[in-house]
């Protein structure tokens, strides 16, 4: 790898620039668009220099868009709130339920545990619609469509398997002798769990929670099928924007920015956990 000729380095630089351009340009461009008025957007040729405006964001945040045709109600803030509530509550619940279960799978060898683990793993790769379409009919019968309870429960189908798989590995990595020693010292199993197992598995729990949050936030099809306008998160809501009449492109761009900002920031803040979690333990980060 020490063969750095000048030509090679230049070529590498050029290729890397192209790559970076391809992957980051769209994000940058949409950021720019979100600060442009409709006139600026529609101007050809598009220019990098323009007068930025906050009107798109204020319209979204205030929820009111004043146009020539009248005042339009924008429900996007509701979508944002829904995303926040759905993702955080689902992940919190999944952690609460999943971490002890992962501990049980790691420490106790019992037939039911292996079966549960196998089922959850095999359904990670099954088509979501296979479960969602019949579920939508059940939901309608049970009156769970477009409810917090229904949605948070369904989001467990996304978050729990992820948490179980990642956290279980971290618990298994803790030497059992350490927990035995703590029990011999005289502590019961609950204290052993909270004072020894949890602290030592904390990186794994953080990685799992982070990943689960990103997957919940980015989810589209669950909410598309099981939620209506009231509880829709930003993924579905932003799309509804496009078809609604009278919405201006700048606002669509602003809505996109608000939709992706949380996950982008989380990714930058905790990227080491991300790599480990994404590869599902195939590589240590």
């Amino acid at each position: 790898m020490g063969r750095s000729s000048l030509g090679g380095a230049v070529l590498r630089g050029m290729l890397l620039t192209l790559v970076v351009l391809f992957f980051l340009f769209p994000i940058l461009w949409v950021v720019l668009m979100s600060f442009q008025t409709n006139e600026t957007i529609l101007r050809i040729p598009p220019s990098l220099l323009f007068e930025p405006t906050l009107s798109n964001y204020t319209a979204l945040i205030s929820g009111k868009l004043v146009t020539n045709a009248g005042t339009l109600e924008l429900a996007f803030m509701n979508n944002l709130k829904n995303s926040v509530v759905l993702s955080t509550v689902s992940v919190a619940l999944a952690l609460l339920l999943g971490v002890p279960a992962a501990y049980a799978f790691a420490r106790f060898r019992f037939r039911l545990g292996e079966n549960i683990a196998f089922t959850l793993l095999s359904f990670r790769f099954a088509p979501p619609l296979l479960v969602l379409l019949p579920l939508s009919l059940y939901f309608r019968q049970l009156g769970l469509t477009d409810t917090w309870v229904g949605l948070i429960w369904v989001y467990q189908l996304i978050a729990l398997p992820l948490i179980l798989w990642i956290v279980r590995g971290y618990f298994e990595d803790i030497s059992p002798d350490i927990e035995h020693a703590y029990r011999i010292d005289g502590h019961g199993w609950w204290r052993t769990f909270t004072r020894i197992a949890l602290p030592l598995a904390r990186p794994g729990i953080a990685a799992a929670g982070l990943l689960a949050f990103i997957f919940c936030w980015n989810n589209f099809v669950f909410a598309l099928i099981l939620a209506s306008a009231d509880k829709q998160p930003v993924t579905v809501g932003a799309l509804a924007f496009v078809t609604a009449s009278g919405i201006q492109y700048g606002q669509i761009a602003a809505a996109v920015m608000l939709s992706i900002l949380p996950t982008l920031l989380l990714a930058l803040y905790a990227q080491r956990y991300l790599v480990e979690g994404l590869s599902l333990g195939a590589v240590k980060g």
Partner: protein, 309 residues
């Protein structure tokens, strides 16, 4: 020490009941989730064996495998298979090539390379449906930046997602944009974990770079490549978000992947039986691929665990 030979002690309760029940209590929620998956799944299997159209409730009846035979005889189904196959092959192929290339470029652990690899992770963090929305904005005929850039090189009226000839290409492009970073980090981590000796030895021997790549790097990286490829193939053939957000399966039937087709069959045609059958076929295909994937992935995990320990 003499033992009390011949006397069998009654086996006292070895553990208190609470202690034995503990693992079951702890995994109760996971069990509930499992049930929550298996019940609808079972229902879907049940539906796939029926002729069930919600528009025509009186026609509902049990028809065993007729739903499947009709499926295999319909040209629409084979169109779906073809489109899904094209999508899966081209997305995974492009992502592998690109991902490998980028990983090779960023192989050395310098500050710049590490910064870049983090930055390149960002498209993966965008919700695929939102990614479609972004690309929709950028390929808009009136103001889309890519439409403009194309016009600069003389290509006008490229219809991107609005034309049957180019819609599949467009969604494939979005998929490549979103998921290449995933392959990149996996292969990058794999590359960095390769032992140094073979490469140092090759350098000492003056072996040409192409030989090193094809005969040393690539074979050693193969387990990672195969694992990544299978994983992506699994998700790609079942793609919904990107395609639905961009084209809803159109124009025509040019982007009707499996799940998109099933969704439309259910919510537009209300044909519960047929959509269930199609999803069952997809599930079967996914199962075949996933068993292969799990085998490779577990092997990879053992290797990482053994190395780290």
């Amino acid at each position: 020490m003499a033992t009390t030979a011949g006397i069998v002690f009654p086996t006292a309760p070895r553990q208190s009941f609470g202690r034995a029940a503990l693992p079951y209590l702890l995994s109760l929620p996971a069990l509930l989730v499992c049930i929550g998956i298996l019940v609808p799944f079972g229902t879907a299997v049940w539906y796939s064996l029926q002729r069930y159209n919600m528009n025509l409730p009186m026609m509902r009846g049990f028809v065993w495998f007729e739903q499947y035979t009709q499926l295999f005889q319909s040209s629409a189904f084979w169109n779906t298979v073809w489109v899904s196959l094209l999508y899966a092959v081209f997305t995974v192929g492009a992502e592998l090539l690109l991902g490998l290339g980028i990983a090779l470029l960023l192989r050395r652990s310098t500050w710049l390379n590490n910064m870049l690899s983090i930055a390149l992770l960002l498209p993966l963090m965008v919700a695929p449906a939102i990614a479609s929305l972004m690309w929709k904005l950028m390929t808009h005929p009136d103001f889309g930046i890519f439409s403009y850039l194309l016009s600069l090189v003389g290509i006008h009226d490229f219809r991107w997602a609005s034309a049957p000839s180019s819609a599949l290409f467009t969604v494939i492009l979005v998929d490549v944009w979103v998921y290449t970073p995933f392959i990149m980090i996996l292969l990058l981590a794999g590359l960095r974990s390769l032992p140094r000796q073979p490469f140092e030895a090759a350098e000492l021997d003056g072996v040409p770079a192409s030989f090193v790549f094809f005969r040393i790097t690539l074979p050693m990286l193969m387990p990672y490549i195969i694992t990544a490829a299978l994983f992506r193939m699994l998700d790609s053939i079942q793609q919904f978000d990107i395609v639905y957000a961009m084209t809803q399966g159109g124009p025509g039937n040019s982007t009707l992947l499996f799940q998109v087709q099933a969704y439309l069959d259910f919510f537009k045609n209300f044909n519960v039986g047929r959509s269930a059958a199609m999803l069952m076929v997809l599930w079967l295909i996914a199962n075949l691929i996933s068993t292969q994937f799990i085998k490779h992935w577990l092997r990879l995990r053992e290797r990482a665990r053994g190395g780290a320990a």
